[in-house]
């Protein structure tokens, strides 16, 4: 029999005992609904937990620090490896070496410092950081108002929204709602702001300007001698972002963001400069942190291992989320098992319905065989009926599960609001879940149809047609 004929006959047969088949289909859909509702909650909770991390765009980033960094003595998990005192310095040659590693897209230094910005004639001290131009294409700045830097050297600046609010005198009082980013961006984008900064000048040539200049007369090496000059730079505000600097790692963890190349060219005095003065033996710049972007997030472990082998400490979001992801995998598994239980019960319903249908349609099966239906035709017909019930039950179940998830989400948000907490999306139905839930329902239905279909196919037409 042709597929279309088969489907048509199957649907027709299902309509013949519409109540029983509808109830069976509802059974399947309840099973699928529980599966979808459980998994969508699992997925939603997982997304809730990792959303901020994903938004940071740092899933492909490894943060590299030197083992010499004093901070690392406190970190137990970094125990082992090279003795910190003998580990390499994180300087420009090291950065280049890291950049040459396989699977590495770029490695850029973490430039950040506290300095003064003057807007509307009021100076304010805050943390500024350099952002590599490649961030233009990753999703870290999703939800930003305005635009990204026009070039890597443009004297432009992106503000974090709390700083933007501060500039406008709109800093929210504790407990009140923050102003939306768009509202903050409107009066600021396009305006100018002045940054005062301290330039570190390696004093091969003696400093001529005396303004705030300090000379470090080192006995060891001329290379560690530098002076500091104060400068001002006019910057144009191009964007306001709602990134939360406290929850991020890497270059976006600052309230004022500038193009990285521009910052590098300014040779701004870094907080680590003083310390490096006592450590560094070369003339090349040293960095407290280098951020390494990996070509493919799947390769992040390989890159981390390679960098560790060079003698540096590494940190990636992968480390931070590993246990979170493991937890959610287990959670999803449990939720999936509970959801599937209902579907297993429903599959017994299918077996029952189809076996009943055989008893009821004995004569019809006998007639079909007498006029030329093969065992295979009969088997396919019962199979198709099971499949149609699975398809309908699956589709209905996804809709039902979606609704249940929505209701749970709504209820949760009503509760959260009553507790003065912000509403959250704890429920999410991805397309793959829709597709695989329906496919799963069909597969379960077909499996349930195996026995009835085989039984119907084996039916002896002479027996079936015997006059009752």
């Amino acid at each position: 029999m042709k597929a279309y004929d088969l489907a048509e006959l199957a649907v027709r047969n299902l309509r013949e005992s519409v109540l029983r088949n509808s109830l069976t289909t509802v059974g399947i859909s309840v099973g699928v609904a529980s599966l979808v509702a459980m998994l969508s909650l699992g997925i939603g909770l997982q997304q809730l937990a990792t959303r901020r991390l994903v938004r940071s765009g740092l899933f492909d980033t490894v943060v590299v620090t030197s083992r010499r960094d004093l901070r690392n003595f406190n970190r137990g998990d970094d125990a082992g490896g090279l003795d910190p005192a003998h580990s390499p310095v994180l300087d420009e040659p090291s950065r280049q070496k890291i950049e040459q590693l396989p699977n590495v897209m770029e490695a850029y230094p973490d430039l950040r410092f506290i300095t003064s910005f003057t807007y509307d004639e009021k100076p304010r001290l805050t943390m500024a950081a350099g952002v590599p131009f490649s961030y233009k294409t990753n999703d870290a700045f999703e939800g930003m108002q305005g635009s990204f830097f026009s070039s890597d050297m443009a004297p432009e600046v992106i503000l974090q929204k709390s700083f933007a609010a501060e500039l406008l005198g709109k800093t929210p009082k504790p407990g009140t709602e923050e102003a939306p980013v768009a509202e903050l961006a409107k009066p600021l984008v396009g305006k100018e702001m002045t940054m005062r900064y301290a330039e570190k000048v390696d004093s091969a040539t003696p400093a001529t300007e005396t303004n705030e200049s300090t000379s470090n007369e080192s006995t060891e090496s001329a290379a560690t001698t530098y002076s500091i000059q104060s400068h001002e730079l006019k910057l144009r505000i191009v964007g306001v972002t709602d990134l939360d600097p406290d929850s991020m790692r890497g270059p976006v963890r600052a309230r004022v963001l500038l193009p990285l190349k521009l910052l590098e060219s300014l040779h701004v005095m870094q907080p680590t400069t003083m310390r490096d003065t006592t450590q560094a033996t070369s003339k090349t710049p040293t960095y407290s942190t280098v951020s390494v972007r990996v070509k493919n997030p799947g390769k992040i472990q390989l890159v981390e291992d390679a960098i560790k082998k060079m003698g540096f400490n590494t940190f990636s979001i992968l480390d931070a989320t590993r246990s979170v992801r493991r937890f959610f995998t287990v959670l999803d598994l449990f939720l999936g098992i509970f959801g599937s239980l209902a579907l297993a019960v429903a599959s017994i319903g299918i077996v029952n319905t189809l076996v009943m249908a055989i008893l009821e349609r004995r004569r019809e099966i006998g007639i079909m065989k007498a006029i030329g239906a093969s065992d295979y035709d009969v088997k396919k017909l019962f199979f198709a009926e099971a499949g149609v019930m699975g398809l309908l039950g699956g589709a209905l179940g996804v809709a039902l599960g979606w609704t249940i998830g929505r209701v749970i989400n709504l209820g949760t948000n009503v509760y959260l609001r009553s507790q003065d907490l912000a509403p959250e999306q704890i429920w999410f139905v991805p397309w793959w879940l829709v597709g695989s839930a329906i496919a799963f329902a069909i597969i379960v239905s077909l499996l349930s149809g195996l026995y009835p279909a085989a039984r119907a196919a084996r039916l002896d037409p002479v027996q079936a047609l015997r006059y009752e």
Binding site: A370, I371, S374, V462
Partner: protein, 252 residues
């Protein structure tokens, strides 16, 4: 072998059985429904299988139809030994070589007249576009041009049997097997149905094997009468009376 249908003198056997047996075990006892029957039916013949109920005539018909398999012996229909066919091939035999009508019509109650007639075409994987036309043609042949969209329960017995006949014809089989085709009909309707069957035998050259317990009916239409009792063939005689019927034409 294949072109012999229209040749009235072809001695080719449409059906040949050799010592065919069909035994059932029912409880503790063995029932010999068909017990060593050997016969040969020529292509184009109109044969009646006669006997009391339980004589084995329907069981023999089921063996010829390929609905059942013999316990021993052979049944050869249109050159094929049915005992050697796979279940799939046996289904193909029922679909293409044999058309069946029954006493209780055996229409599918949830389908309309035209859908019932079309059903064998679905199993034969005939294109949708051709099915309706073929079904209408077959229904015209049995004189049922109207009420095509009615369900069997809405039809008279005669109309139901006409539908069943149209369904039996739809795949143009060489054999028409009829199991008490008039058993559920009044005598006037029964005559109409029998006339149709005779017409198929004559104009389409179909070999007809009809099971009946009505000696008179068999005598009126069949050209050969085979009597069964207790699963055995007890008499096999040509029916000269049927030849005398004017509509039988020049059949020998």
């Amino acid at each position: 072998m294949t072109a012999g249908i229209d040749s009235s003198f072809s001695a080719r056997a449409a059906i040949r059985t050799e010592n065919v047996c069909r035994h059932y075990v029912m409880g503790e006892s063995l029932i010999r429904a068909v017990d060593g029957i050997s016969l040969s039916i020529t292509s184009g013949e109109f044969v009646a299988l006669l006997g009391t109920s339980g004589s084995g005539k329907s069981s023999l018909l089921n063996l010829i139809a390929g609905l059942d398999r013999p316990t021993s012996g052979t049944v050869v229909v249109e050159g094929k030994n049915l005992a050697e066919l796979s279940r799939e091939d046996l289904a193909r035999h029922r679909l293409h070589t044999v058309g069946m009508v029954f006493q209780s019509f055996n229409l599918i109650p949830s389908m309309t007249v035209i859908e019932n007639v079309e059903l064998p075409l679905r199993f034969a994987e005939v294109d949708r576009s051709q099915r309706a036309a073929l079904a209408r043609q077959a229904l015209d042949r049995v004189g049922l041009g109207k009420r095509l969209d009615h369900r069997p329960s809405e039809l008279s017995g005669g109309e139901q049997q006409r539908t069943a006949l149209a369904r039996a014809l739809i795949n143009r089989p060489k054999l028409l097997l009829a199991d008490e085709p008039t058993g559920n009909l009044d005598s006037r309707t029964g005559t109409e149905i029998m006339n149709l069957i005779r017409e198929f035998n004559e104009s389409l050259g179909m070999t007809v094997v009809m099971v009946t317990h009505e000696r008179a009916l068999a005598g009126q239409y069949a050209e050969r009468l085979i009597f069964l009792a207790d699963g055995k063939l007890v008499d096999d005689q040509p029916n000269t009376a049927a030849v005398a019927v004017p509509s039988q034409g020049g059949r020998a």
